[in-house]
């Protein structure tokens, strides 16, 4: 398991001054390491930038029809 796990993580470098700042920031928070904080922030940013799965008008209409048929929408 150990070996496989190593492949799933890569090392990146950030400026030491930024590292220190983050270290300060996460004190007293629930983040236990700079890495977990940085991963969290990056994930948020990346997910924000990712395109929503296109949901065509037609699909949405189909969903609304079912919701109406079941009485969830008027």
């Amino acid at each position: 398991m150990g070996e496989e796990k190593e492949e799933k993580f890569k090392t990146i470098t950030i400026p030491a001054s930024l590292f220190k700042k983050i270290e300060e920031r996460i004190k007293g928070t629930e983040f236990t390491s700079v890495a977990s904080y940085v991963t969290y922030v990056l994930r948020e940013v990346v997910e924000e930038e990712e395109e929503e799965v296109p949901f065509s008008e037609e699909d949405e209409e189909k969903v609304k029809e079912r919701l109406k048929a079941l009485g969830y929408l008027d």
Partner: protein, 386 residues
């Protein structure tokens, strides 16, 4: 604030449509077949419909071990309950199954439902599984007992569903893609999810309505499926909630739909699992009360709240409540934070007490349960799973 992104960033859809579906149906006829029991069919459907996003199949070994030891998938996404497909050695031999094979998954009647691309076949330690997930190896715990009944091997890999697995009470079943449209249509920007496996008493109603004072909508999402004896029957829970909603809630800010899934009674870990699922349905908040998803006295009353501090990256806001009670002096439902009166004025909403009353044929008083709800429950001679 838009509704939250699904867990892992993308709503999974593993149901096949059109040509791919026809091809898969044909392929399925030629492949080795594995019948799934009811709970596994629910998990299969939950994966396919994105309720378990970002899972695209049953857990492979690296994810399984990471979930056990780290409470996260191998890529570090929070995940606490192993979603697994077990098989016995004999069955594996019968199927001549190897990693890399594709398998046809069938329902109890042998109808073909899905393909599974088996990436990983692995053994595991049941004691370790029980200890990590349930925090006990006591076989009297219903979740632990279940682990010891599992086959010795686990199969991991992506699934593709081409057949329908109709959930029970399907008129109350909504997929995340549907709840998300529904919430949007209602104009809700904040939604609190409420997990339940109970007939609602006044304490539940009070918790939901307290949450409703600061969010746009409440999403009541009872778990339907295999439960332990002594729990309310699914049909009783649904009938009771229908009555409660109809009499005591505004239609425009409350929605109920079901979650067909087996209860595991894993307490804290299951609370995180429940929260992730509600995030996928589009909830921004998730209500966690006392002894959430617990059983017996295996978990301390607020362990299921404390565990959330391990997941600052969960992506759904937990809302914690202490227990509520009725105070005869306040003449309403209160908790310790807002009621200065003594024990002697309190009527507690003990599940055990309510169960005993109902079994004796008594109607719980209006300080505990709405009369309309009590009336509905009384229609069943035995409203409990035996």
């Amino acid at each position: 604030m838009p509704l939250p992104k699904p867990h892992g960033g993308r709503l999974v859809n593993r149901t096949l449509s059109c040509e791919r579906r026809e091809a898969a149906e044909k392929e399925a006829k030629e492949l080795p077949r594995l019948k799934l029991r009811e709970e596994l069919l629910s998990d299969l459907r939950n994966i396919a419909h994105g309720i378990y996003s970002p899972l695209e199949g049953f857990l492979c070994q690296d994810d399984f071990e990471n979930v056990l030891f780290e409470k996260r998938l191998a890529d570090d996404t929070p995940w606490t309950i192993p979603i697994i497909l077990d098989i016995s050695h004999e069955e594996r031999e019968r199927l001549e199954l190897q990693e890399g094979d594709t398998l046809t998954l069938c329902d109890g009647s042998g109808r073909e439902i899905a393909l599974m691309h088996v990436e990983s076949i692995y053994s595991y330690n049941k004691e370790e599984f029980a200890e990590k997930v349930f925090l006990t190896t006591d076989k009297a715990h219903p979740g632990v007992a279940k682990v010891y009944e599992l086959g010795e091997l686990l199969l991991g890999g992506e699934i593709e569903m081409f057949g329908e697995v109709e959930p029970p009470f399907s008129r109350f079943y909504l997929r995340p893609v549907e709840t998300r449209v529904l919430f949007k249509e209602r104009g809700w920007r904040t939604v609190a999810g409420f997990q339940t496996r109970n007939v609602p008493h006044l304490g539940h109603e009070y918790v939901q309505k307290t949450a409703l004072t600061f969010v746009d909508g409440i999403f009541i999402n009872p778990v339907i499926g295999k439960k332990k004896s002594g729990d309310f029957k699914d049909e009783v829970i649904l009938a009771a909630y229908e009555t409660l909603l109809c009499n005591y809630y505004l239609k425009e800010n409350a929605v109920m739909s079901i979650l067909p899934m087996e209860m595991r009674y894993a307490g804290p870990r299951e609370a995180i699992h429940h929260a992730i699922i509600r995030k996928n349905f589009g909830c921004t908040h998730f209500i966690v009360g006392r002894d959430h998803a617990g059983v017996g006295s295996y978990y301390s009353p607020y362990a299921a709240q404390e565990i959330f501090s391990e997941f600052p990256d969960l992506g759904i806001v937990p809302v914690f409540f202490k227990s509520f009670f009725y105070c005869r002096k306040c003449m309403t439902v209160v908790n310790e934070k807002i009621c200065p009166h003594g024990e002697e004025f309190r009527i507690s909403f003990s599940g055990t007490k309510i169960r005993e009353m109902l079994l004796r044929g008594e109607v719980p008083p209006p300080e505990i349960m709405r009369p309309e709800v009590a009336e509905v429950v009384k229609r069943w001679e035995n409203p409990f799973v035996s």
